[in-house]
């Protein structure tokens, strides 16, 4: 059986605190001290922006090598890694180079992206990168369905320093998916 609620008898000091609004005065002292020691925590956002952390994960982008060719080899691993099915890759052979593949079409539905960075981790050739862009508010949701050209453009403006091609970075390693001069071109 729960104890019955009996009205608690106030001690003299408690009674005095009640009639002098002591607790309210304590609260008012707190607010007044904040007014007198005014230190706002506000950041005036559009005018001043906070410094982003080094590992900030912003807008996704497709990258290029330093000779301007796309890094993407169309392997679909990013599509497989993506937990929210943002990415759709249409892979194809490079015309005239039967051992080499590329992504003929590459779509990202950024309305669903949760910026986990798993696609970047999954990419075997580091063709994907996360930029530091975050101001991507748009008036039409469809503007967030990005195609390959748009993603490459984001990469171009966010990563001005590009890598060399892989085979030039590591001359002693044999690479898959790199054209060899002695492989005869596929007859058309």
């Amino acid at each position: 059986m729960p104890p019955t609620a009996t009205p608690k008898r106030l001690s003299l000091s408690e009674w005095f605190k009640t009639i002098t609004f002591y607790e309210i005065l304590v609260g008012m002292k707190a607010t007044l001290s904040h007014l007198l020691n005014y230190k706002p925590v506000t950041l005036q956002y559009p005018h001043e922006k906070r410094t982003l952390p080094d590992n900030y994960r912003g807008m996704l982008a497709l990258l290029r090598y330093d000779d301007g060719t796309e890094k993407c080899v169309g392997c679909d691993l990013c599509e497989a890694a993506c937990p929210s099915r943002v990415i759709r890759v249409v892979s194809a052979e490079v015309p005239g180079e039967p051992t080499k593949r590329y992504s003929k079409e590459y779509y990202m539905d950024m309305t669903r992206c949760l910026f986990c960075g798993m696609c970047v981790d999954a990419c075997p050739v580091d063709a994907l990168g996360m930029t530091r862009e975050f101001e991507w508010a748009v008036y039409d949701k469809r503007q967030l369905h990005l195609n390959k050209q748009q993603l490459l453009a984001i990469g171009d403006r966010s990563f001005p320093i590009r890598e060399k091609r892989l085979e030039l970075q590591h001359p002693n390693v044999a690479f898959f998916n790199v054209p060899f001069k002695h492989v005869p071109p596929k007859p058309n």
Binding site: I24, M28, T31, Y38, Q44
Partner: protein
């Protein structure tokens, strides 16, 4: 010009001046409230319009003027249109009897004019209380005519709250009226001249400290301000009685709330804090040899008292959470009402013995 025409012209000039001051004060208050509230909560308040956001009231006013005026389907159109006006007029009309400065008289064209009070009627306080009660009709009718459950609940709460707390306002004022022997605000203020211990807050034989506390709490409740903002409790009732209002009608309600705040602050300053009297006898400007300019000092003292009272409104709003409805009613009827009644009895006995 005939005497009537001259009287009319002088009165209209005074009314225009007072209305101008009140509207400017309300504009200032909307900004000051947001700024002070922000500073107390470690925010900045409005910062975008003008340097440090000082033009924000004008931006708000322009926005409210040009918003679409919506009358909800099923609303009682006549009452819906009437309610904001019914709320606004009583809020402004009370300023007619507030003395802003010393009780001087001027002779203009053979007519005696009191420059610092529009109308020195001998029932000043009664007049203010009567019109404050009419303001409650605006809120109730606005809530009822909107055809919305939130508005209706807000209006009902407001009706109960205003009736309960206006009683306390009236009773807390009676002590002062007993001491002064007059209902005229001019006479009450004049009776508090001299040092600050002549103010009715401290005056012998019966200091009205308890009455002042009751008045402050009840006036906060009467103007529907935090912590007594149950009629417009936004977490429960969307916006209370003006949920369905938009545009200019909403602006009227808003203006009425702030004008009411200024009015109760002016009344508190006039009744308990000596009105335009400085805390010392006379004025400094008079001692320095500018007796014709001493009204500036007097009105400044009135402004200081009124504005510090208004600051208290913001301060309470930044500090306190909203009361529950039963707490509000219990506090009003079981705590404040007995205190106010006891104060009347004590004051009456003290005045009877000392006279």
């Amino acid at each position: 010009m005939s005497e009537f025409g001259l009287r009319l012209a002088i009165s209209l000039t005074q009314i225009a001046a007072v209305m101008g001051i009140v509207v400017v004060t309300v504009l200032l208050l909307t900004l000051a409230e947001r700024k002070v509230l922000g500073w107390m909560q470690d925010r900045m308040g409005p910062m975008e319009v003008g340097p440090y956001g000082i033009l924000q009231p004008f931006a708000d006013a322009i926005k409210l003027f040009f918003k679409e005026d919506i009358i909800p389907a099923g609303a009682n159109k006549f009452l819906f249109t009437m309610a904001p006006v019914l709320c606004l007029i009583p809020a402004f009309i009370g300023f007619a009897v507030i003395p802003w400065g010393p009780n001087w008289t001027l002779e203009i064209g053979g007519i005696t004019v009191k420059p610092f009070v529009i109308s020195d009627i001998n029932i000043g306080i009664l007049y203010i209380l009567a019109f404050a009660s009419i303001g409650a009709y605006g809120i109730i009718l606005g809530g009822w005519a909107s055809n919305s459950k939130y508005s209706l609940l807000g209006g009902l709460r407001s009706a109960a709250q205003i009736i309960s707390y206006e009683l306390n306002v009236g009773l807390s004022i009676i002590g002062v009226v007993i001491l002064a022997g007059s209902l005229s605000l001019v006479k009450i203020t004049d009776a508090q001249a001299g040092w600050f211990w002549n103010w009715y807050l401290f005056a012998l034989p019966a200091p009205q400290i308890f009455a002042f506390v009751v008045y402050v709490i009840s006036s906060v409740a009467e103007t529907n301000r935090v912590p007594f903002d149950l009629p417009e409790a936004e977490s429960e009732l969307v916006a209370g009685f003006f949920t369905e209002y938009s545009g200019l009608r909403f602006a009227f309600f808003f203006l009425a709330e702030y004008a009411n705040m200024v009015l109760v602050s002016c009344v508190a300053a006039a009744l308990f804090l000596g009105g335009w009297n400085a805390p010392y006898p006379g004025t400094i400007l008079e001692l320095l040899g500018f007796p014709s300019l001493s009204w500036i000092e007097s009105t400044m003292w009135f402004a200081v008292k009124t504005y510090s009272f208004l600051f208290l409104f913001f301060w309470l709003r930044a500090t306190l959470p909203r009361l529950r409805y039963d707490q509000l009613m219990r506090f009003g009827w079981k705590v404040l009402l007995p205190i106010a009644l006891a104060n009347i009895v004590v004051t009456a006995i003290a005045v009877f013995i000392t006279q």
